[in-house]
Symmetry: C2
Subunit: 557 residues, 2 copies
Amino acid sequence: MTNLENTLSIFALGGINEIGKNMYVVQYEDDIFVIDCGSKFPDESLLGIDLIIQDITYLQQNKDKVRALIITHGHEDHIGGIPYFLKQLNIPVYATELTAGLINLKLKEHGLLRHTELTIFHAASKLSFGNVDISFFRTNHSIPDCVGIVFHTPIGAVVHTGDFKFDLTPVNNDAPDIHKMAEIGKNGVLVLLSESTNAERPGFNPSEITVGGHIEEEFRKAQKKVFISTFASNVHRVQQVVDAAQKTGRKLALLGRSMINVVSVATELGHLRIPDDMLIEPYEIGKMDPEKVAVLCTGSQGEPMAALSRLSSSNFRHVEILPDDTVILASSPIPGNEKNVSRIIDNLYLLKANVIYGSGGSTGMHVSGHANQEELKLMLTLMKPKYFIPIHGEYRMLYKHKQLAESVGVDRENIFIINNGDVVDVDHTKAYQTRRVHAGRVFVDGLGVGDVRNIVLRDRRVLSEEGMLIIVITVSKTDGQLISEPDTISRGFVYEPDAKELIKEVNEIVKTTVTNLSSIHGSKRTAIRQSVKKSVESLLFERTKRRPMILSFLIEI
Amino acid sequence: MTNLENTLSIFALGGINEIGKNMYVVQYEDDIFVIDCGSKFPDESLLGIDLIIQDITYLQQNKDKVRALIITHGHEDHIGGIPYFLKQLNIPVYATELTAGLINLKLKEHGLLRHTELTIFHAASKLSFGNVDISFFRTNHSIPDCVGIVFHTPIGAVVHTGDFKFDLTPVNNDAPDIHKMAEIGKNGVLVLLSESTNAERPGFNPSEITVGGHIEEEFRKAQKKVFISTFASNVHRVQQVVDAAQKTGRKLALLGRSMINVVSVATELGHLRIPDDMLIEPYEIGKMDPEKVAVLCTGSQGEPMAALSRLSSSNFRHVEILPDDTVILASSPIPGNEKNVSRIIDNLYLLKANVIYGSGGSTGMHVSGHANQEELKLMLTLMKPKYFIPIHGEYRMLYKHKQLAESVGVDRENIFIINNGDVVDVDHTKAYQTRRVHAGRVFVDGLGVGDVRNIVLRDRRVLSEEGMLIIVITVSKTDGQLISEPDTISRGFVYEPDAKELIKEVNEIVKTTVTNLSSIHGSKRTAIRQSVKKSVESLLFERTKRRPMILSFLIEI
């Protein structure tokens, strides 16, 4: 695969020029290390697709060299692809305790628990593979138990930050280990890979703890039930909801499968502390004094099947939002989700609830989990890398991150903005990007992994916008003449009761076309089908300015 | 239609619980007045639809009473439906000068110029129809020549604000006529209909003139060409771009059809003043010193076919964005457009341009054209209506607007949050909402108006997510036995070269089903087709967890 066996190579198989399906690779000679294995949700152009994962052809071709899949934290865009990955390439997985707990939920679902080697490490752990030692440093993000990774290779250290922010007054004392980062930087960093999600945003994020104060205030003010919705994986925020409920004398119900799952895993592993008598079941809510109830639920991004959406349309078993209940959306809509979130807010107002919402943390009920510009500069300053590769972001974010790196003194020529698949090769004296490995995306649709390709999506696109028309033509085997009337059906094209005339015209033009053609060519299948398609196509376009997909069947008897 | 002939009735046929397709109706006895006739762009769930307009069944049923279509201003959500409306109901249209100019562009396109009675009025004009006199007041918005409307009926005045903000330092002295509004309020307003777009936003909008300062500053700083993109209809902003170009010694090129159209209409009518030698053609840009060039273009919302998008992908004849050119997006992405806008910004950075962008006016390059909370309260205070109907907004906006009205003293019982079609009847002593007229949406798709209905969209939805499978079965007329192999084609379902086994299984199950059935029932068409569909459906779901649309044809010979 490569004639650069003696160098260090770094590349991404996902996560660059996109948000989602993160996967980064560090290769030193014959040892390949994979960092993260996320999934990505499709945008609306990928019709019917459930999930997008990485194309790992390169890793399969080099499977004897792949030593480990190391996971930085438990978010979907870092762990969501693991079951699909392991079905293709069963290698050992390494993760911290909480991350491993969340991965196990997935492995169970996919029936992979017994076949997977999942090793738990801690921020102080050290791993060793041939020439490469691996150590970690604790970071802070919107999920606990996050780490950055240091690969100690013979030619220098490669640091991958994972997702991070600097929260200096963290919930549960889950602080970033700045001293260790400083030490790593002092010892020399050859290459830094750092996340770029918020590289467009100036300043320094407020601490997660500020959210807790706002939650408690609203819990105190509320005269009736309080509903609060946030990402289940934001365990620190869940802790603050628990604390606010306790301080204001409310019991807490949990709604939504992922909320129940994450709370159970996080409690078991000690990342979440819930008083013994705090939790109640949904069916108990109706029997209690509304002032004594808080409900923590999923669906803060407007997901149509999640708890908040169902609550807002009065469609949740045992639980009802009533006039003057308070509903808090402790979140900021991710681009693309605004409309779904707005619809929920409309419905909550229709239920006469008091709704607390807003984007970008304007209500104080949300802070981002990703480093803003000053935090990114702090990381760059701590690590003072020789080479820098901005990762985890769309192009404009990588570009802004590059500018930030230059501003704190990284040489412009030593910064590499890459694409998925672009390889940065590093040796003692220099780094260069001249070659690529195969990278791409694979679609998951139902049980199918990779069986929906671009051509299938192109057909779905045409069908979705214009619909289709199917024509069955029955002709004589001997002379190609029509034996019966053409049989025509449309779907997604026109409302047929309104279009009887048009369908009649279609059948007429089909008859004429077949009759004319068969007298010349006899029963040449392809010629007949192509001519029919062409003449029907132009008729329909003239009449409707639409181009439905036209399929014809020729039955010869 | 109604047994309330002696009252005043007010309702909406579009614009409530939505942004778009505005149409409000004021009826006094036998005189019906229609206000605005906008279109709405479909969201992504309305697959393949080009435009949404109002269902005007009620007006058609009462066409002898419909006196006038009066337009408040020239935005698409207020004029976009006019050609479709006039084809159904040819009534006189009234508009201010610029609005009429923009309407004429549409009438021309639809071949309606000669058949339409379009009357131009001014803010000082008075119209009279039987018992009802109509006057206007000048407002300020993100397009010039806007008005609010006053219907003077025998039982009191009905005021419709149109879209508005209060810009007290307006470009071109295009100020809202606050004195006239105060007088209207002083004389007594029975019912106020006021727009609610920004009812969620606190404060008072900055003046459009602040944008001009920022534009000029960037024009001055730019070392190379400057590109600036904004809504073509924002003539005041276009004026400020012209002014900035003049002050900084740059010539100006216009790119994009709507920019050229609007500038031409607005210049002709005196709403825009461009120095004689200011404009250049696109092909001249390349020949000039980049420091002497500014380009004003369409596409600030990321529209894929508009000028900015094509420029960003180096796909615009004669014009190229080069390294260190400046590109300004003088806009804020409308929810739903963020992804397209982001893609353009990524591409502009790839071209090494200096890009100035940001949402919500964070760069100073955009202000909203809609009244914020303090401005809405100012309008309510000026008008001090007895009854209030918040219009032009989604539910949460109407709800917040209701709260604002209460805060400035409107009686809670006198505020009506309605749906499209809900009628507010008003007499001397009271107002009440007890009845509805027919209201709805009509889809425009190509040349078809109304021929795509919900069932067609449902089919498009299934086809778009799961694709389809078509099976042609040829059986004997006498005993219903198969005569040849089933013929199976799929589209949008699976990549067929990967799915040969599956298709083979389908054909097998079809054969078995037909054979079994025909031995019992003979050739009962429906029974055979239903059984085939059912057995194929469950096979495919088991194998793929997908449910493509299955269509079968039964040919009997």
